[in-house]
Symmetry: C2
Subunit: 337 residues, 2 copies
């Protein structure tokens, strides 16, 4: 198993990516890691000799956060992310991890690695923490803005496999994001998708309202990329607003500052619980390789966690299993004819 | 100006509605209020004689929260909400306020009062508090699940007028909910709507990301009913989760309980700031009458605020202004031909 890390992607790169890569290479001796990026910059930030299973692949260019994604992927042929994705395409590595530009990440997966046989639309699938014991995998949050019902069915198939194989959830509960819990609720897309999910051999728990998502009422949440993006960014926005407001209340006077100090350890947990970046990277499911997007603000620990995720992805053969399930679906459809 | 209040709708009805109606009738002597509902129950909870401008219209039935909305509106012809809506239709009153079943509220507006001339799809438009000084009016959050670009343009026209006339915002900033701020972002709907809003004679500030909504980057947010509903319910869900988590941290031990006690007054403000129900009722814009939906958990103060809102709605001729603007738009289209 070979995993490429885009050394230049992320707010704290290349320090975070190099340190994370070293840590991961030391921890997992059944994988090889390739740091893709500017050799000089990588060497400048490294604080210890690389383990044997960690190497560098030089890449001259860098895709920036502000770059227009698809254009950058096409034009910057020597960008670290593009080089890493090409290595997947050419089977030199099996996985790519980046904490850089999300749009460029998706474009690289789609344009360079390409879609899996039978998959019409890949899905970006981050994991949200919940108030319950579980975490929720959400597909899609932005790879495909106008999916058809059949695409959402494929999301369910891919989500189930990823949830089982990487997140370790047996027979995950699949929910459909909707405006009400009744079976007949929704827009045209969800109304048409509902019976298809019901007929699928997954544990479909029906429609899920946005307000119940954080209560962990399902393990895999299916939605179109537009609505998924709204859900994710609203969660992020409200959580961030809450912390700003809380901080303001805490700084009110000496007494409230003291109270805040007492509460600090608990609030740290609390913040962690709400911080969806803690849970790890988001896979782009349905492309030809393990593509993992780590959060832009990833530190070395987050990079190391993304490696752990990519390793499970490969070890448990997520791609092969998706291909098999999708092929079965196609066979069934042919049988029906 | 005559305002009907559905006496039976809401978690705390009829106590909340009767007390709110009395308070409002005493405060505003330029309006007449009609409490619509079971006379006996209304009289049972009233604690003081009614002012002259407050009367009862008996209605035998009640629409429950769990009733299927459209069906309930059609079948329960003597339900308080249905009777009140019929009074609007027959010009016996100018406005309806309810804290009951939201779906039934929308169905009553659409099926009984009917749409305004030229309006293709009415929109439910609640107000969200923000971290800034302003509040944001969002249309639509659920009246229309699959709108066309032209419908969203009408939302902008209606939203501008309501924002100016009822919320008192001069030349409100109109934003389009989207997955990124760049002009070309989005799904088919937002991509097609963007140039139409740009061409409209409103202060269009472009695409708005969900994470920026609570920062108050616009005054009126335009979106389809499905996405608007996701935005609203996610906000509600995250805020409620936050308070549950905070409470848990506060109850940790004696010291944290003490700290929580110190912070209590500030946190009350904080909670209020995040509670979107505080801001008032949501109008159903585009129907033939002032239809105001108060939050299900409305107390008498919230009902009284909804009356204040309905009064401004009528006094400042929101309906007439919407009809004029929409007629202008139709004329302009004819000119173009």
């Amino acid at each position: 198993m070979k995993i490429a890390i885009d050394a230049m992607g992320g707010d704290f790169a290349p320090k975070s990516t190099v340190e994370g890569a070293i840590e991961a290479a030391k921890r997992f001796n059944d994988i090889e890691i390739v740091l893709v990026g500017k050799t000089e910059e990588i060497n400048k930030v490294k604080t210890e000799p690389f383990p044997k299973n960690l190497t560098i692949q030089h890449a001259e260019e860098v895709i920036l956060t502000e770059d227009e994604p698809a254009r950058a992927v096409r034009k910057k042929k020597e960008a670290s992310l593009v080089v890493a994705s090409r290595m997947v395409k050419e089977k030199e590595v099996d996985a790519v991890i980046t904490a850089g530009n999300t749009g460029a990440f998706m474009a690289s997966g789609l344009l360079i690695a390409g879609r899996l046989a039978g998959i019409e639309r890949p899905a970006l699938a981050p994991v949200l923490p919940t108030m319950g014991e579980n975490e929720i995998l959400i597909l899609d949050v932005g790879a495909n803005m106008d999916p058809k019902p059949e695409h959402l069915v494929q999301y369910a198939v891919m989500g189930k496999i990823y949830s089982e194989q990487v997140l370790g959830i047996q027979n995950p509960r699949i929910g459909l994001l909707n405006v009400g819990t009744e079976d007949t609720k929704g827009n045209e897309l969800t109304k048409k998708t509902f019976p298809l999910l019901k007929a699928l051999s997954v544990q479909f728990v029906g429609n899920v309202e946005a307000r119940d998502v954080l209560n962990g009422v399902c393990d895999v949440l299916i939605t179109d990329g537009f609505s998924g993006n709204i859900l994710l960014k609203t969660t992020e926005g409200v959580a961030s607003t809450v912390f700003q407001l809380l901080k303001k209340e805490f700084m009110h006077n000496t007494l409230t500052k003291l109270a805040a100090a007492i509460l600090k350890p608990g609030l740290k947990n609390f913040k962690k619980k709400l911080d969806y970046s803690e849970v790890g990277g988001a896979p782009l499911l349905g492309v030809n390789g393990a593509f993992i997007k780590a959060h832009g603000s990833s530190d070395s620990k987050a990079i190391m966690n993304a490696v752990r995720q990519a390793r499970l992805f490969l070890k448990n053969q997520v791609i092969e299993k998706i291909e098999q399930e999708i092929a079965k679906g196609v066979e069934n459809q042919n049988d029906d004819k």
